[in-house]
């Protein structure tokens, strides 16, 4: 039967935002182009003022040259950014960007100077032929300012892309927390547990109270799990014990569960409720749909510096669970596993591993291997 998690698509739209940052597309819209142009023109005025002060003071003439050269360079760079492949955050990758700016600087200088010459009926190029040092004197400032202005735009683009990326990451994290919460507060489990509790209140008040305590601990852990990055393995096992106690009341003789945590491993830090979905899957897909009793074992062991966490069951096994998951009424399963992989990848990269295999005597064996470390913020 579908759980609440069906309402969330199994493939959350994470990482799509990272692959094509929204900023990249926006860099080339008309608004940006217009704003950049104005900024370049203003920079050109400042450059003309500086250059004319240092040289002989022909501000008007210098301004025309500065605008023609500056805007030409800018146009070449914008075209280049638009046309060149492998853009990241609006700029071509690595040295392509530098080549673009250098090329645009020279091309823009030639074009801008030629246009300005045409305006004033003059030829700078003849002058440079007679006096090559003058070329250096005029091109030098162009190259310097070109480098500065391009660098400034590049950094601004980068900052905007970073902001977009951070926003996307925050969005992803919120979504992940929400779906974790939804998968753990599965309504079917909750209402069945409450129904059992209701039955016990009249029949066996003491057992009802114990069950309620387990439910409280389970709910508190589930709600806290989305706020904590890590907690000690001993806590993780305590939460699993709560969950198993609830399931024990519900399933009675059909469930034979055990947990085994060597005391010296209790302080190792693990992401909260990492094992929980595995235990839940073992029951939901392995033991609950199977006729007759079944076993479930949760163990922790150390293999060198690697923590090995294992959930084994003697349920129906992977194939039957997968076949059932394909049926329309069972949609939404399999989501917990993707989430475990993702959480491990985020926290430990390739150092952590999650495998799901057929058990030695039927059933399923889920194993998580991750670097053991005792640090934990608490």
């Amino acid at each position: 039967m579908p759980a609440l998690d069906v309402t969330l698509p199994p493939d959350l739209p994470r990482s799509t935002a990272l692959a094509t940052p929204p900023a990249a597309a926006a860099l080339f819209d008309a608004g940006h182009l217009w704003r950049h142009g104005v900024q370049v023109a203003l920079a050109n005025v400042a450059i003309a003022g500086l250059v004319s002060t240092i040289n002989d003071g022909h501000f008007g003439r210098t301004l025309v040259y500065a605008q023609c050269i500056g805007l030409s360079i800018w146009l070449v760079i914008e075209c280049g950014r638009w046309l060149m492949p492998n853009r990241t955050q609006g700029w071509p990758a690595g040295w392509h960007s530098i080549a673009l700016v250098v090329g645009a600087c020279m091309l823009g200088y030639v074009a801008g100077t030629t246009i300005s010459d045409a305006i004033f009926g003059y030829s700078s190029w003849l002058g440079y032929l007679r006096q090559p040092r003058a070329l250096l004197r005029d091109f030098g400032p162009t190259a310097t300012f070109c480098a500065f202005v391009s660098g400034w735009f590049w950094m601004r683009g980068q900052a905007r892309a970073n902001r977009a990326q951070a926003a996307a990451a925050a969005h992803d994290a919120t979504l992940a927390r929400l779906s974790l919460l939804q998968s753990q507060l599965e309504p079917h489990m909750l209402f069945n547990t409450l129904a059992n509790l209701r039955a016990l209140i009249a029949a066996d008040p003491q057992r009802a109270q114990d069950m309620l305590d387990h439910l409280i601990a389970f709910l508190r852990a589930t709600l806290n799990a989305s706020r904590q990055a890590e907690h000690p393995l001993a806590d993780e096992f305590a939460r699993i014990a709560d969950y198993l106690a609830l399931m024990q009341v519900r399933m009675g003789d059909r469930l034979r569960a055990s947990t085994m945590l060597p005391p010296e491993l209790g302080a190792i830090a693990v992401p909260p409720l990492l094992l929980q979905p595995l235990v839940e899957n073992a029951i939901k897909h392995g033991l609950e749909p199977q006729r007759g009793p079944g076993e479930l074992h949760v163990t922790a062991a150390l293999d060198g510096a690697t923590l090995v966490l294992c959930v084994t069951d003697t349920g129906r096994g992977l194939e039957a669970a997968a076949a059932r998951a394909r049926e329309p009424m069972e949609a939404g399963s399999g989501f917990g596993l993707a989430q475990i992989r993702e959480r491990l990848q985020t926290l430990h990269g390739d150092a952590a591993r999650f495998t799901l295999t057929a058990g030695a005597e039927g059933g399923t064996r889920a194993e998580i291997r991750l670097p053991a470390s005792t640090r934990h913020p608490s």
């Binding site: 039967m1 579908p2 609440l4 069906v6 309402t7 698509p9 199994p10 309504p187 079917h188 909750l190 209402f191 069945n192 409450l194 129904a195 059992n196 509790l197 209701r198 039955a199 016990l200 009249a202 029949a203 009341v249 519900r250 399933m251 009675g252 003789d253 059909r254 609950e288 749909p289 199977q290 006729r291 007759g292 076949a323 394909r326 049926e327 329309p328 009424m329 949609a331 939404g332």
Partner: protein, 280 residues
């Protein structure tokens, strides 16, 4: 004496429902509870209760599958079909389906007031049936047609919402070719050549005019990928190509026997699906 069967895999909940029913309807005689879907079918067919309370999520057969099997295997000469009440903790989509099919259902934890209303309705239905049986003119069980209709709605149309939620399903195109292994060889069988499909334990048997093969897919997975106009489900385990049917003969029990154009065997259409064959 009215009898009822409870099918619920969680022992405490089965006990609690027994206790609540004993309070709400003291005269109701309860059979021993069934612990899973298969057990429910066995106990229902053996005990022939008037009412069956079926949990939806059970080991083995689900409550819906158990209901289907009970109705199909219910002896024709016996009393009317049992009234079925589904019990569920939280199944949004199943409940929508129940609403559409106008089947009675209970939500866990079962509230006494809700249970009392349910019992009142069941009593009314049983009284109506008894009255109908007194009148000799009417046919055996007038309530059955309504029950069959409801169950058909429930089983025939998987909730569209769940269908849309699993994207694989929505994307799965109609089948045109079946790849079936016969021994070590893979046979390509055009769907149009198939005369009927028959569910076996883990496989579906594909039968054409000249050969038979097995495919590893459940009938429930297969059905949505077949054209509903060309392929008719006539039994919970049988789907037949409509234009391969030669004749249909109805017997006293409401079952319909089919003969085929290109195969010698006869197929049975269950009471649940017999409405497909009514004559024009």
């Amino acid at each position: 004496m009215t009898t009822a069967l409870i099918a619920e895999d969680e022992p405490l909940l089965a006990q609690a429902l027994r206790a609540e029913l004993a309070r709400a309807w003291p005269e109701l005689q309860l059979l021993d509870s069934a612990v899973d879907g298969d057990d429910a079918v066995e106990r229902a067919l053996a005990g022939r209760p008037d009412i069956v309370f079926l949990d939806i999520r059970m080991p083995g057969r689900s409550g819906l599958e158990a209901a289907e099997a009970i109705v199909e295997e219910w002896p024709a000469n016996a009393a009317a079909l049992p009234l079925i009440v589904f019990v569920t903790a939280y199944d949004q989509y199943a409940m929508q389906a129940f609403e559409r099919a106008a089947v009675d259902y209970l939500q866990k934890p079962v509230q006494p007031a809700r249970l009392a209303a349910c019992c009142a309705r069941l009593k009314d239905m049983i009284a109506l049936r008894a009255a109908a049986q007194q009148a000799p003119a009417s046919s055996a069980a007038p309530g059955d047609a309504a029950l069959l209709g409801r169950l058909r709605t429930l089983l025939g149309a998987p909730p569209e919402t769940t269908r849309a939620a699993s994207q694989d399903d929505a994307a799965a195109p109609p089948l045109t070719i079946l790849q079936a292994s016969i021994g070590a060889t893979l046979h390509m069988i055009p769907v149009g050549e198939v005369i009927y499909f028959e569910a076996t334990d883990k496989y579906v048997r594909v039968v054409t005019a000249t050969r038979e093969a097995l495919i590893r897919i459940s009938l429930r997975e297969l059905l949505p990928r077949l054209s509903a106009e060309r392929f008719w489900q006539i039994h919970r385990g049988t789907v037949v190509r409509a234009d391969a049917i030669a004749t249909a003969t109805r017997d006293d029990s409401g079952k319909v026997f089919l003969t085929l154009r290109e195969r010698p065997e006869r197929l049975v259409a269950s009471r649940l699906h017999a409405h497909l064959f009514r004559g024009m």
